[in-house]
Symmetry: C2
Subunit: 148 residues, 2 copies
């Protein structure tokens, strides 16, 4: 039931991007090194993030990636969904929504899947990339804040 490396690497990389972007694009190379991830694998991860509209790419020398929106407007749920596909546990429940299936009438577990999905969605859609970074800074281990 592990989230795949795509989701885990991707989320860490997005947080890294928030932390180290100084209004300049951040090259994958730097992220890959800091996070200990293969650069060419990260490429594939960022291709998905770009297609989902979460980052913009700047090509060529001194290029890299930047967030498409401010960090406090990108939720962890969006990032994971872009990388993992729908965050659906069973076919009858997605986020807070009910999905009909042919056994809706007699299914004993539907309401459970819905409840669990809704609880997860609460966290996924209320936590933003900014939150991740803020929490980390609160522990006092990060590099200098941007506005130094």
């Amino acid at each position: 039931m592990l989230i795949s490396t795509k989701g885990r690497y991707g989320l860490r990389s997005m947080a890294d991007l928030v932390l180290y972007a100084q209004n300049k694009p951040v090259p994958l190379r730097a992220i890959a090194e800091r996070q200990g991830i293969s650069e060419s694998y990260l490429e594939q991860v960022f291709a998905l993030l770009r297609k989902a509209g979460l980052v913009n790419a700047i090509r060529g020398s001194y290029g890299g990636y930047i967030l498409a929106r401010p960090a406090h407007q990108i939720t962890v749920g969006e990032v994971l969904q872009a990388l993992e596909g729908p965050l659906t546990l069973a076919n009858c429940a997605h986020g807070g929504t009910t999905i009909e299936c042919d056994k809706t009438d007699t299914c004993l577990t539907m309401s459970f899947w819905q409840e669990l999905s809704a609880k997860m969605d609460e966290v996924l859609s209320s936590t933003t990339l900014q939150d991740l970074v803020d929490r980390e800074r609160a522990t006092g281990k990060s590099p200098e804040p941007k506005d130094k």
Copy 2:
């Protein structure tokens, strides 16, 4: 991110077992038919449930499976864990517990995984098989209650 069929079939089957057991063992055949699952596949599911100590098997004619404990003492989390393995999203968080990894200091996502895991665990460990059946009965679609 779907829970696998093992987990979904297994949970449905356990609820089915609660609903249809009349102090007699329930054969897989019956569960398989009611739930529309292949019997031989269910065998493998129940092998796991038995090894986890959640059901007891009674062999031979008129045999079948019975819950090892009362339905209100078996949580959905136990069932899913028996079938899916550890319900861990990332290597740094399991239920409410923190797991150390070599990047604990700098990991930007650890606290998020912990929060999400903890929220999921709340639901998983507080919902019992009895709850599933009670909810279903509340909708008035189930067969006669046991104590009729």
